[in-house]
Amino acid sequence: MADPLLRLRGLTKAYPGVIANDDVSFDIGTGEIHALLGENGAGKSTLVKMIYGLVAPDRGEMRMNGAPFAPPRPSAARSAGVAMVFQHFSLFDALDVAENVALGMEDPPKPRDLARQIREVSENYGLPLDPSRLVGTLSAGERQRVEIIRCLLQDPRLLIMDEPTSVLTPQEVEILFETLRKLKSEGTSILYISHKLEEIRSLCDTATILRLGKKVDTCTPAEKSARELAEMMVGASFATPEARAHDPGAVILSVSNLSLPAPGAFGTPLRDITFELRAGEVLGLGGVAGNGQDELLAALSGERLAPAGTIRLDGQDISRANPVARRDAGLLSAPEERLGHAAAPNMSLIENGVLTAARREGLVSNGLISWPKARAFAEKVIAQFDVRTPGPGTAARALSGGNLQKFVIGREILQRPRVLVVNQPTWGVDAAAAAAIRQALLDLAAEGAAILCISQDLDELMQISDRFGALNEGRLSTIHPVAGLSIEKIGLMMGGAHDMEVAHVAE
């Protein structure tokens, strides 16, 4: 690595009230997989935006192969050989694969040639994809392939990947890693952003760790333990959730043969879902995004009514009850989408507290809201769940993702639910906040509540669940105790191959 592909020196970028990057310097060598590690708000995305030309640095310089590199806009970065696979926000659902690819290219070929090139590249790198499919109908893994192929068609010298594995099954992760290693062997450099430490240790040659906008260290991740890396990221050691004795009580929630048609063109139907949830247990449901997670939560919370007789709480049929009635009966839920679904972005935390806690916490009397009580409730959530906010009157949208998530989960937990359904409770939340949320869920279960945790983070599910099942195309796999599950078996459950195995055994 005599002459690094990209050399960053003293990059600084300040936004009003916060320094996103403070004097960050490191090198990315040719043919190197370089990890960029850090918590939310550590300045990873700002740094990447500067390299990709979306944001101009206040100070500092970048050099590519020794020559000054300061892309004024993404197209300039792309023509210099920098390509980026985004975490979200860069695909168009209503357009097909080829159109999506064409939009990300500087000088796309004719549609027919492009379709042929997409097929070629997708076969070369083991990423099967049909150019004429609508992107809205693709799974998360397939959508990521669209982005990767869009980048590969431009022969990038540096490929930036922003949290690429957060939505993939273990098998898909392996395919992705094979692709990345192949690219590396061809001389392409990769800047790999993630907070999954084991991945970084197995894949990356070098890692740069950011904390609060500053570089902590550049190291060889294979030589560090995951614990050491995590501590560099967080800066203080954090508590891992406690394991606890599993003593399941009586069945509280039982779901039997729940089927629901898909809610829209891009939704997933629920197919014959059956499970039981006992007091004091945590049931973890894994599965790749878009396999019925949102639909299951909607059916349980009462946003969509289920066929009569399919959902019972304490033996009472609540399938046709509306969300308010279900909340009164003790079935609470926290959906995945924080802004817009779990919380109203422009309303204050006090108002957001009233929205779900009004009846259970007695914040309303004679149809009038008691604002002192509402404020007290919001303050209690903020205090108990360490929500970092100027005050309870702050608008929900002003909170960072992790803090809002702590508020949303805390708001439900403090209402003493009998059953709590959560979807992606720690998605996009930094490690310390995630640990706090998981501990709160475990404490709630220890007090006798039943918890259904839907998540795409397998480590999380393994950590907190007593039993585990997976959703695949709206079907629920057989549920197994977590103890004794191997990652291969989980992958098969998530991939839907599990039923065949059962059928085979039954013969």
């Binding site: 935006k49 197209s75 792309r78 168009f92 209503a94 159109e99």
Partner: protein, 307 residues
């Protein structure tokens, strides 16, 4: 009633004339909405086009100059909407309604001296061969140039959106402005261009009313044509071909009910007068009830390039 008094040749010919203003306004608005902007000011832009086109045509004696001035005036007016909503992030619905009110008031002011005057109008084209066909010649091939231009515009918009890269980018911006921005496309600039085009089309539609269809100036003469254009875009599921169907359907029923009134049909006049609106909406609802609706995902949502 005497149905024999309705001449089918004249009927079809007048349908084409009566549909053209709405077709022009609707195809322009469709492009605007495809880029993700909801401009409710079509009515205001149309009537501004009507009065400016009329005034310029009367003063210069040239209807072609009138059309050009109308397109320019409405496009500039629409740009005020564009700057307010795209740069200053004002609410699109409120600003669009405001644009309609401004257009109606402004046109009444400008048009006061021109009431009761008659403008020069566009000549009917004399198309060789086609115009001489026995029935079809009178029906389809002896109109003024704007009728054919409006049809060509529909085809051009369809091809632009379907086959060109610029059209793909326009659709992408309307589909997800965040994604388009992340890829480096200039969302605001693209939307301003779409708004400008939509304004020009609405202006042409308005001028067609005051210069060809009527042809004179009366206050409030668009009489809701802009709103019908908006409704047609929605019910046409944002497709150029269906916009054409919708506009011709509305024009057709309008002309037919006038003919029926003249022929003394035993149906209340009020019912006949409302029939174009009712039937157009009914048919387009039936068309769009099947299949996907295809509204651009970012329609009406404000875009701010927060970094």
């Amino acid at each position: 009633m005497d149905l024999g008094s309705i001449n089918p040749i004249l009927l079809v010919a007048s349908i084409m004339v009566s549909a053209t203003p709405i077709l022009l306004a609707a195809i322009g608005e469709m492009v605007v909405e495809k880029s993700g902007v909801l401009n409710l000011g079509v009515e205001g832009m149309m009537i501004t086009g009507a009065v400016v086109g009329f005034a310029v045509a009367v003063n210069t004696g040239s209807p072609v100059l009138g059309f050009a001035a109308a397109a320019l005036a409405s496009a500039v007016l629409s740009l005020s909407f564009g700057v307010l909503t795209q740069v200053f992030l004002s609410n699109q619905v409120a600003t669009g309604l405001g644009l309609t009110l401004v257009g109606l008031g402004l046109s009444a002011l400008i048009g006061k001296p021109y009431e009761g005057m008659k403008s020069p109008t566009l000549p009917k084209l004399d198309i060789p061969l086609l115009g001489d066909l026995p029935v079809l010649g009178r029906m389809l091939f002896s109109h003024d140039i704007m009728v054919y231009l409006s049809l060509a515009l529909v085809a051009a918009v369809w091809a632009f959106l379907k086959f060109t890269r610029a059209g793909l980018i326009l659709r992408a911006v309307g589909e997800s402005h965040d994604a388009a921005h992340a890829l480096g496309y200039k969302v605001v600039r693209i939307r301003l261009m779409a708004i400008f085009f939509g304004g020009a089309c609405a202006g042409l539609g308005g001028a067609y009313l005051s210069l060809v269809r009527v042809p004179q100036w009366t206050e409030g003469m668009t009489a809701g044509a802009g709103w019908i254009a908006l409704a047609i875009v929605v019910f046409a599921s944002w497709r150029a071909g269906r916009v054409l169907i919708g506009a011709y359907l509305f024009g057709g029923v309008t002309v037919l009910q006038l003919n029926l009134q003249a022929a003394g049909a035993r149906v209340p006049v009020e019912l006949l007068s409302t029939s174009p609106y009712l039937i157009t909406i009914l048919v387009l609802v039936l068309i769009s009830a099947r299949g996907i609706h295809g509204a651009p995902a970012c329609l009406g949502r404000p875009f701010h390039a927060s970094s």
